[in-house]
């Protein structure tokens, strides 16, 4: 135990005296949370929609008025009147407007005749987010437009009532679990990847190898020191990130204690995985080169930024084995739903099992020679 502690002590003393390392592993994920949270989370507003009225009848005017009312209030879009479709299409292609609402010449006649009147939304589908926002707004607009002036007292039409069991979750809060795991991963990548290989290349490990320390003690020492640093980074994100993202009651002791348990399990899993990947590597360029790819391969399939249900089958396989998946799921439960540990017991069990397996494999592969 004394030898394991010696490795941990050495690593932690160096970490404490390296402000750059502390900033990189703790502050940068917070910056990422804020930037990504607000870059993706906002409601889309002030899209420019050209209106081409080729009909000019009363129903068309009513439709335009409703359209302008939405533009004035919700401000999802602003209307730009066009006298002809050719000019509007040219402006759509050059990016001056985001879509065109086209009211055809026979629209009023079809409305009055009850002959399925049609209007068209011509959209710039290269921007899926803006196009979807426009489609949604127009669908909502047509519901009151199509409703009968006098509603029957009793109706056979089914209606849907939506009940949200949790308070509104802004995107920055949705992103927080993934960002916590990312902070733990960055710390694991630096400690278990970059510093480990750099120390090896500088000959520091030679100093360990000539002492009577056992293989398992070395691996345990490296893993635990890396895990402690990752836990520190994770807990900074858990507290500061919760405050920044506006999580209710962010400093609740019980909640923080539950989070700490999950942070520890995630830290152990990720640092052990990193050691397994690096155990036979000697070139200091390797961890730097694979950092970005590893980040993508682990982070995005985990459901941190997009629901898993939307992934293709091959990616779901990756999701099933990815330790990020279980860490992100656990943090979502704790951060967004404030559940107890029972709700994430499988996540914790998976992460700990993953840590034991990868650490055992790393110990088997570790060479106690140069």
């Amino acid at each position: 135990m004394n030898r394991i502690w010696a490795i941990i002590e050495r690593d932690l003393r160096r970490f404490r005296r390296s402000p750059t390392l502390i900033i990189v592993s703790m502050v940068l994920p917070l910056v990422q949370l804020v930037v990504l949270g607000y870059a993706f989370g906002g409601k889309i507003k002030n899209l420019k929609v050209g209106v081409v009225d080729q009909d000019h009848g009363v129903p068309a005017i009513k439709l335009k008025e409703m359209f302008q009312a939405v533009a004035a209030n919700a401000r999802t879009f602003d209307t730009v009147p066009y006298s002809d479709q050719t000019t509007a299409l040219r402006d759509l292609r050059t990016g001056r407007i985001n879509g065109i609402l086209n009211i055809p010449p026979n629209f009023s006649r079809d409305v009055l005749a009850g002959a399925s009147p049609r209007i068209a939304l011509v959209e710039d589908n290269t921007d899926q987010f803006s196009a979807s926002a426009l489609e949604g707004s127009l669908d909502q607009l047509l519901i009151p437009y199509n409703s009968k002036p006098i509603q029957p007292r009793l109706t056979a039409d089914a209606t849907l009532s939506i009940v949200e069991i949790y308070p509104y979750v802004p995107y920055i809060q949705y992103l927080l679990p993934g960002t916590i795991v990312m902070a733990i991963f960055i710390s694991a990548m630096i400690g278990g990847g970059i510093i480990y290989i750099d120390d090896k290349a500088r000959g520091l490990h030679e100093g360990y190898l000539v002492t009577p320390i056992r293989k398992l003690e070395l691996i345990m020492g490296f893993n635990l020191s890396g895990a402690i640093k990752a836990v520190l980074a994770g807990m900074v994100l858990v507290t500061c990130g919760s405050i920044i993202a506006g999580i209710p009651d962010p400093l609740n002791i019980l909640r923080l204690a539950r989070m700490a348990i999950l942070v520890m399990a995630a830290a152990l899993a990720l640092i052990s995985m990193m050691f397994l990947l690096m155990v036979r590597v000697n070139d200091p360029l390797v961890p730097r080169a694979i950092f970005g790819v590893l980040n993508t391969v682990l982070f995005f399939p985990s459901g941190a930024v997009y629901p898993i249900q939307g992934f293709p089958p091959w990616m779901k396989v990756l999701t099933a084995v990815d330790p990020f998946t279980y860490a992100v799921h656990g943090f979502k439960e704790l951060v967004l739903k404030n559940t107890g540990l029972m709700a994430i017991s499988f996540d914790i069990a998976y992460l700990l099992g993953f840590a034991v397996l990868t650490m055992a494999a790393a110990t088997l592969l570790f060479r106690r020679s140069l």
């Binding site: 004394n2 502690w5 490795i7 003393r13 160096r14 009577p212 320390i213 020679s369």
Partner: protein, 331 residues
């Protein structure tokens, strides 16, 4: 029983054998030097003896412990200073030592006492709590020497401990090693490519070249083993045919080796050979363009046994490295 027993130790990397059937013993209490150019196999040998690299064949025992079968007992018995400086720059001298003492499971009280004593022994007690990044190269090397002794080993392996140090620091390290050897009853095995270091520091020197043991004895006996007491290095304005034979016929000359226009003449009486040489050159109408006379050194011993100068090998190694770096940059 010897402290170190090496029997036919070999380490090959593919077809290339860095250490080729080396055999020697090191007695208790001696400073044993492994002298050779870069690439001679010194570091590979020391890494095998310190259990860092498994041998291809042959055996070695440290205090009777086999380096392969009893590796952990070997590690407990030895102190090792690798070629690279491996102290943590962000940690203080005391912290660096304390961490290594813990790796050897030394109890707290003994740990503190030993660290204090060792830092004093290497003249770093004033700097105990200062970060190592403030230290000069010589101070760092002294700290590493102290660190290597923290578990009180009886045999100490040092791989080129003075490489990269300035002359003053080198002398300080030599003196420190000699003092520690006496005070702590140490056996020291040191590798070096500095002839003067091996000459002044070592009780016995093994000359290693291309992984093979070329000569082994005390510096004094090694120098006495080659012909002549003095070496004359002389160059001439021109070299007529048969000039080398003429030089060999000069009085007191034991041997002559030529390297283009430079002749190395081994003489049993340097001053007399010099006078005769000057007269012969004048009589032949040849001008002496440079001349130096010196006592026989280990450098001459090295040349005698290997057929080439140590500095040539070092330059060749440096030239190879720079070419390699240039090629890498180009690619």
């Amino acid at each position: 029983m010897f402290d170190v027993e090496v029997e036919n130790l070999t380490k090959c990397f593919g077809d290339f054998c860095a250490v080729d059937h080396l055999a020697f013993n090191v007695e208790h209490g001696e400073i044993f030097g492994l002298l050779g150019p870069n690439g001679a196999g010194k570091s590979t040998l020391i890494r095998m003896l310190t259990t860092l690299v498994p041998p291809t064949s042959g055996t070695a025992r440290i205090f009777g412990f086999d380096i392969v079968r009893d590796a952990n007992n070997v590690r407990q018995s030895i102190g090792v200073i690798p070629q690279a400086m491996t102290s943590d720059l962000d940690l203080s001298a005391e912290e660096n030592m304390s961490i290594f003492a813990k790796l050897y499971s030394i109890p707290r009280d003994k740990r503190r006492r030993t660290i204090r004593e060792l830092l004093k022994a290497v003249d770093l007690d004033q700097w105990a709590d200062k970060p190592v990044k403030m230290f000069s190269g010589g101070m760092r090397r002294r700290l590493e020497i102290a660190r290597g002794l923290v578990h009180e080993p009886k045999i100490f392996f040092l791989d080129e401990p003075t490489t990269g140090l300035d002359p003053v620091s080198r002398v300080a390290v030599w003196e420190m090693l000699a003092k520690l050897k006496t005070e702590r009853d140490l056996t020291i095995l040191v590798t070096t490519h500095y002839m003067d270091e091996a000459d002044k520091l070592c009780d016995r020197v093994a000359i290693v070249d291309h992984g093979k043991l070329v000569a082994l004895d005390s510096p004094l006996k090694l120098k006495a083993s080659i012909p002549g007491k003095n070496i004359l290095e002389v160059s001439f304005s021109e070299v007529p045919p048969g000039w080398e034979e003429a030089l060999k016929r000069l009085p007191e000359v034991a041997d002559v080796k030529s390297d283009e226009h430079v002749f190395r003449i081994s003489s049993n009486n340097g001053p007399r050979t010099t006078i005769e040489l000057m007269e012969s050159a004048r009589a032949a109408g040849i001008a002496v363009t440079s001349l130096s006379v010196q006592s026989t050194t280990l450098d001459d011993v090295f040349v005698h046994y290997t057929g080439h100068q140590l500095r040539d090998t070092l330059q060749a190694a440096a030239g190879y490295d720079s070419t390699f770096m240039y090629e890498r940059k180009q690619s």
